[in-house]
């Protein structure tokens, strides 16, 4: 069986969905950084979204599972902190997938300043599109999300926090 090269391994791992938000992949989120083949080892570099993100362990297991029968050598998953993960890495396509899933996507850091700090109503409800929304809490169901509600359609929704 032919050994996969770094690019092929990266493409394979790019398909792995995020455990919490399965409509986007670990590549969409910028968690998957790079793959390096050296000295019989296959080193996969990932970076956490938030310091304590509990999904990282699961992602590590999924990476190992995906490569288990691919003859890539000894699989080592390395957690790196640099470059620092930012929501600015999430592509517009991935942001649209978030919105369709019911999560308000992160605004770009240049415009996010007022969102969790000020009272400016800039966030659109992912359900009805109204901008008449209000923050309930800066901390939501996971480390990366804040909790909002829509004053028009009355539905609550998560906002993927800009960081």
């Amino acid at each position: 069986m032919n050994m996969l090269n770094e690019k092929e391994i990266y493409e394979l791992l790019s398909e792995i969905p995020d455990p919490e938000i399965p409509v986007i992949t670990i590549k969409d989120l910028g968690i998957l950084q790079r793959v390096e083949l050296k000295g019989g080892n296959c080193e996969v570099y990932i970076t956490p979204t938030y310091s304590g993100c509990p999904a990282m362990k699961l992602i590590e297991d999924q990476i190992k599972e995906a490569l288990a029968d691919k003859n890539v050598g000894n699989i080592i998953v390395k957690l790196v902190y640099a470059p620092t993960w930012t929501t600015d890495w999430i592509t517009p396509e991935a942001k649209e997938k978030l919105r369709l899933y019911g999560i308000a996507p992160p605004l770009h850091s240049s415009v996010d300043k007022g969102v969790l700090i000020g009272k400016a109503k800039v966030l659109k409800c992912p359900q009805c599109g109204s901008q008449n929304t209000e923050m309930i809490s800066q901390f939501g169901s996971t480390a990366c999300k804040a909790l909002y509600k829509c004053l028009d359609c009355k539905e609550p929704f998560d906002y993927f926090k800009c960081i």
Partner: protein
Amino acid sequence: MTKQEALFCYTLRLGDNALILGHRLSEWSSKGPLLEEDIATTNMALDLIGRADALLKYAAHVEGKGKTEDDLAYKRGEREFLCNLIMQLPNGDFGYTIARQLIVSAFDFCLYEELVKSKDETIAAISAKAIKEVKYHLKFASDWTLRIGDGTEESHQRIQKSFDDIWMYTGELFEMNEVDTILIKEGIAVDLNVLKTRWKKIITEVLLEATLAVPADAYMQTGSRKGVHTESLGYILAEMQYLQRAYPDAKW
């Protein structure tokens, strides 16, 4: 003291602060005054424990004795911990927790803002991550200080007392010794005297807006730099380390 020994001490301090405060915040789980605050405190605890994981992993690497971050977190005794005394104080009521959080998050904000420029790449990388999360923690603590301080007569009095009581633990945050001297020279650590002015400014602004009085500096508690802690740390470790000590090397 060698540079390696100093660096080990320094990363332990940072890691232990995150670990012990993270543990204290996690104690609010299922006990928060409101559901959103229950989630907020545990979210912040998670950020801190993640930071502790990264820092203690690095500390173990610097020590060079083949230990892991778990060995450092779960197998050291009180005298080996280097967390500041303020981190280990019992949570008290929600206002007391908020008072402590404001003080610590303002300190962490000033500290990590500088440590991103550290000549030690790992500390700089962890700091770049930490500062982003600390901003949210500081915002949370500031907002709640305002609500409780500029709240009812009872809430105002109670949180004023909390700040008055906890103030004697603030001085220790800025204590420096040989470890800092060595590492500041290497461009790795920060001069905490410089941070003190910035920290004081943040705290004063928030307290005054919350209609609270800034407590006067008086006797400051000390000891953690030498591993001399409050009795609380013993109880924290008894709970936190119970599983690892009862079933050594247990795995999920």
